[in-house]
Symmetry: C2
Subunit: 238 residues, 2 copies
């Protein structure tokens, strides 16, 4: 498998390129509009054929590159079920899979950051967690119909149940970390675990923590959410 992690410095966003070097089929997960040219150059240089653009969710902090990539390459846009993005080619549900050459990608429901969110497990040994589980953190749950109780349930039931050695590739990191493992996050993620004891927090404790964060809105939210609901079409409203 060819696997590339790509970073957008302005928004701290990770995009992932996954490809089968034998068949040349490729998928991009969470592309960023401003990085479409970089990503297409890499895809062309590697001799790949972009089959899918996958979204983990409707982002509030950056505009997706999926709309532009669909126009330029004819790839299919894949978004989680119930996402407000009617332009998608396919809505993917928990447990459903995509095939990229010999690579199997499985959607895993990880709601709570938004009311539609999928993590994507790749060939069983790694999972792209979007804005659900981050390295030593998690996505906020205070807008876009976020729900901390649902995030707790899905992260603990759908992600922490994976093998400890599963590699965790997040949708963002703001401290320059690129990868973690399920085992590490089950032991050291301070949102879900009391670091002093290593014990999982209770659902109530997690909800109280998330509801006390009092975060400012992302800079791009007014532009990004409506654009992403149209798969990355940027509409300027005066």
């Amino acid at each position: 498998m060819l696997f590339r992690q790509l970073f957008d410095q302005e928004t701290g966003t990770y995009t992932y390129l996954i490809a089968d070097p034998v068949t040349g089929e490729a998928a991009l997960v969470d592309p960023v509009l401003e990085q479409v040219e970089r990503d297409l150059t890499l895809i062309r240089e590697l001799g790949l054929n972009l089959k899918y653009c996958l979204e983990t969710h409707v982002h509030a902090d950056h505009v997706t590159g999926t709309g532009k990539l669909r126009e330029l390459t004819g790839c299919q846009g894949i978004v989680p079920v119930q996402a407000k993005a009617q332009c998608a080619d396919r809505f993917i549900a928990h447990g459903e899979t995509l095939q990229v050459g010999s690579i199997l990608i499985e959607a895993i429901a990880t709601l709570g950051h938004t009311d539609s969110h999928m993590a994507y497990r790749v060939n069983g040994d790694r999972i792209l967690t979007g804005d659900a589980l981050l390295i030593r953190g998690c996505g906020r749950t205070d807008f876009q119909s976020g729900d901390p109780g649902l995030m707790y349930d899905h992260v603990t039931e759908h992600l922490f149940s994976l093998p400890d050695e599963t590699l965790v590739y997040p949708g963002h990191d703001y401290k320059g970390r690129t990868v973690s493992t399920i085992g590490e996050e089950k032991r050291w993620n301070p949102r879900f675990v009391d670091p002093a004891t290593g014990s999982l927090r209770s659902r109530e404790s997690f909800i109280a923590l998330m509801n006390s964060l009092n975060l400012p809105n992302p800079k791009k939210i007014q532009e990004a959410v409506p654009a992403n609901e149209q798969c990355g079409k940027v509409t300027v409203t005066v």
Copy 2:
């Protein structure tokens, strides 16, 4: 092998953590002073014992974290032979190796960006190229006794001779790319290859290209070079 790529956003610098999860022995390559706390937290959480800090070269764009890490952990500082860093615990020469648990790290001379520079090949399948070979680029050769002819010789003879599938982990990237391969750089690196034909440039063509770049000095050069010659000890001169 445990292998972690870590990024310093301010200077676009990659640090690498390499460890044997069985013995717990670890090495950091090109740590950044401002990220020492992040790196030590990760090392502690993973239950590792920092044995070595390796420098690819005396950096001009950031201050190394090696000095502080030596003080805090007792690790050994390893620098290339002929580097002006008299405080090092060991000077490593081309072809010499280090053992980190079961992991073998081999120093490969890659001079030209500076007059002392090693790439570090890890377990044969990946190479940390410092500021010699970058993704679709290379380090500048116009200060710190840089020498474009020497860079051409060492990159083409010592790096491009490695197997095409060897993973290339650079010391910097400014476009969010994290990894490449020797095969990709032999085909698509515009400093060494004419992208239109895929043919290797001549030594003379490379030297002329490097001598025409006319780059501004790195922001931190006045502070970083003298500090790094003392293994990261920051001296404020009024």
